[in-house]
């Protein structure tokens, strides 16, 4: 049997893809993540507040989501120990706004820097716009992503690696002028979406779905759609069709699971299996990731899951026709740039700066013992942090990243979600594009 192996670059970190061929078709696929740093071990014995500084360093592109998960896990541990933390509406809004901004910058950088250079190989006529470094799309994409990072840093001090969320709220105390600046920057993201990605007016874009949307959308989304139809990316990349969202970003993201219908999300049904990871020393391990399962089965998480569960009409209509193909998975991510930006603008307009930014918890964090969980949405999907604390010191820490759901290994029954999506494909390039459609972040996958 022919075996091909490639170290995939142009993603967050590096990942190795090993493909087993039967004739002209892929029979099996292994995604392996080589670099392991060991954050969960490093955290043991550390003062609990230090996790707010260490954990964002798990990932250079979604560290803010790790910060949010950390602060929520700590607050949950305080609550379960009988010390409920009060947070003002202002602090809650800021947390949602900066998390949304991180997701927006991620989606822009991912599309222009990581995905489209591969699509160019399928469709060379797109080269001028989408070539790495030189393409106008590459350069404009970076610039647009920095409207979001600059807006984020205006509130959170810096990006990457801010630690501005603390138990009881946030550390920043911005002025109205700061809020105006953030608003102006986010408006530029919306303009970019309108002018470059959708190529049509926002109102008209938002009123369309299904075939009409496919027919009338222009801009870079159209270029991507055309490449999909020419190369069959509207039908490949399908996995289990089971989706999961654990976190909430009001009102665009709600928790739930979906296969045939949408059900409630129960965090206690989540667990990890390690029998195909290097952690189990049984010789079968091929990656530093574990396999995340929900009630025993693999689920896809990320923008497609979020937008299906939130019943976004554009994503739902395309999903009905094209399933969980590359086309729909990528579209869901792009559409989220707009929905999240618009919700950030709404939130900015409702922030009341006279409220307090931070209310100290009723008991000092360093004297509390207990257990807590933080479930949030990161750019790539549901991120779960679990903490166990003994008198202010971390006893145990567990991080289940979105990419562990999508890019983690198989178990004895099921292939990993992205592995399954590559079975039966007839070209390596398509396999890479399918894998990329999940937005690969190897640094989170292994952490």
């Amino acid at each position: 049997m022919k075996v091909s192996k490639k170290l995939l670059t142009r993603l967050e970190g590096e990942a190795e893809l090993k493909l087993f061929w039967q004739g002209e078709k892929i029979k099996d696929a292994y995604i392996s993540v080589p670099n392991y740093r060991g954050f969960e071990r490093i955290l043991v014995g550390k003062p609990v507040m230090d996790a707010l500084v260490i954990n964002p360093r798990i990932c250079g592109i979604c560290g803010h989501a790790h910060l949010r998960a950390t602060v929520e896990a700590i607050e949950d541990s305080l609550k379960r120990a009988g010390y409920e933390v009060t947070i003002t509406e202002k602090a809650r809004l800021f947390r949602d706004i900066t998390l949304s901004l991180e997701i927006i910058q991620n989606h822009l950088r991912w599309f222009y820097l990581y995905l489209m250079p591969d699509v160019v190989k399928l469709k060379p006529s797109l080269r001028e716009r989408f070539a790495p470094l030189k393409g106008s799309g590459w350069q404009e994409g970076v610039r647009a992503s920095n409207y979001a990072t600059k807006a984020l840093a205006t509130l959170a001090g810096q990006w990457p690696h801010s630690s501005y969320m603390v138990p009881g709220g946030v550390t920043c105390d911005p002025t109205e002028a700061d809020i105006n600046k953030v608003e102006a920057l986010v408006e530029r993201v919306v303009d970019f979406f309108e002018e470059k990605l959708a190529g049509i007016e926002i109102q008209s874009y938002m009123s369309m779905s299904g075939a009409k949307l496919i027919r009338e959308v222009k801009g870079d989304i159209l270029s991507f759609f055309e490449a999909c139809f020419e190369h069959g990316l509207d039908s490949v990349g399908r996995s289990y069709g089971r989706f999961l969202t654990g976190g909430t970003i009001d009102p665009c993201v709600v928790p739930g699971t979906k296969s045939k219908r949408i059900c409630k999300f129960h965090p206690e049904r989540v667990y990890e299996l390690g029998n195909y990871s290097f952690f189990s020393k049984n010789g079968r391990g091929y990656t530093w990731a574990k396999a995340a399962r929900y009630g025993g089965v693999p689920c896809e998480t990320g923008p497609l899951a979020r937008q299906l569960i939130a019943k976004n009409p554009r994503v739902v209509s395309l999903y009905k026709k094209y399933g969980d193909s590359v086309l729909v998975r990528v579209f869901a991510r792009l559409d989220e740039i707009l929905t999240l930006s618009l919700s950030v603008l709404d939130k900015l307009r409702s922030v009341d700066l006279s409220q307090r930014s931070c209310i100290a918890p009723p008991k000092e964090v360093k004297s509390v013992s207990g257990e807590g969980i933080g479930v949030v949405e990161a750019a790539r999907g549901t991120l779960i942090h679990k903490i166990s604390v003994s008198r202010g010191k971390i006893k145990f820490y567990d991080v289940i990243t979105p990419t562990v759901w999508n890019l983690g290994p198989r178990d004895d029954v099921y292939l990993g979600v992205a592995e399954k999506a590559m079975i039966g494909l007839d070209s390596e390039l398509k396999a890479y594009t399918v894998l990329r459609s999940f937005d690969v972040c190897s640094v989170c996958t292994s952490h």
Binding site: P34, Q158, C358
Partner: protein
């Protein structure tokens, strides 16, 4: 045109890729200027070239002149190195070979400089020329690149894009780069995070921040701020062009120094009522005298909110 550009190769070790993401946040026109003056032979996330092997072979054969080698991330040594194999070479072997050919070797971010988080529980993981405070690292304490410079250390978790691009542009135009005792360019690391901090008046008059989440008060006295002991230009060259940790109410965590991340990052330790660590170069006696007087004569305006409903 290409021959006038600096040939730069960027490698990843054990990293979160935060320095790559930080680099992409560079303010214009710096990023454009960098891309105009640098030929990015290979970068794991953003270059067109995907085959590192091809470029490495060409450099080792002498077909490509390597001007600058940039490493982002910590490096495992010898046996413990399972990161990846490239033409049979581990990352540490690759770094040794390439750094012997490059005119300049740059360690970007605290992992590449000191080992940082990936080195905390792994004795065999280190930075290029340091492992935390200890000089040595992968390349050894006496390493000099072909230009005669030791590793240029651009520390920080992450490093600010302007510090990095500033150094590369200086190399491109052949300017002299002065380094401090940790191999960091003085231009960016002669300053303290404290310099340019918006809370300096509160520090001077010893007015402490009572709680988090306010513009007012110094974070050095209660919240562990390491601004006066940390070399960085964070409050001189703002992050993302707009802010910094202390400007957004976070203490400085000292992420440009070898001992990042220390324990108890959010609190100030005291010995008999005096901060256990004083600003660099300040004597205990001097601190007690100055702070006692400052506290006694602190103006009332610093004890009120900066912006309120009053006149």
């Amino acid at each position: 045109m290409n021959s006038e550009k600096l040939n730069l190769l960027w490698l990843h070790g054990l990293t979160c890729c935060g320095n790559t993401q930080s680099f992409l946040c560079a303010e214009e026109p710096l990023l454009s200027s960098f891309l105009r003056k640098v030929n990015l032979i290979y970068h794991p996330a953003i270059s067109e070239e995907e085959e590192l092997e091809v470029k490495v072979r060409a450099i080792l054969n002498g077909d490509i002149k390597l001007d600058v080698l940039v490493l982002e991330g910590a490096v495992p040594k010898g046996e413990s190195d399972k990161t990846y194999k490239l033409d049979g070479m581990s990352l540490s072997e690759l770094v040794l070979k390439l750094s012997s050919l490059a005119d300049y070797t740059v360690a970007l971010g605290n992992c590449a400089v000191y080992g940082n988080i990936p080195a905390l529980k792994e004795k065999n993981v280190s930075g290029l020329q340091y492992r935390f405070k200890e000089k040595g690292g992968i390349l050894g304490k006496d390493f000099r690149s072909k230009s005669g410079m030791p590793v240029i250390n651009i520390s920080g978790c992450p490093a600010h894009p302007e510090w990095f691009i500033g150094v590369i542009l200086s190399i491109a135009s052949g300017k002299r780069i002065l380094l401090d005792s940790y191999g960091r360019p003085k231009e960016f690391y002669a300053y303290y995070t404290h310099d340019g901090c918006m809370r300096n008046q509160y520090y001077e008059w010893k007015v402490e921040a009572e709680s988090m989440g306010t513009k007012e008060g110094c974070l050095f006295y209660n919240f562990g701020c390491r601004g006066p002991m940390t070399k960085s230009s964070c409050n001189r060259i703002l992050w993302n062009g707009v802010s910094s940790k202390t400007r957004s109410g976070q203490p400085c965590f000292g992420c440009t120094e070898f001992d990042f991340p220390r324990a108890n990052l959010w609190e100030t330790k005291y010995n008999m009522g005096i901060p256990a660590e004083l600003p660099e170069g300040v004597s205990l006696r001097g601190y007690i005298m100055v702070s006692g007087i400052a506290k006694t004569f602190a103006p009332d305006r610093l004890k009120r909110r900066l912006i309120d409903e009053g006149e």
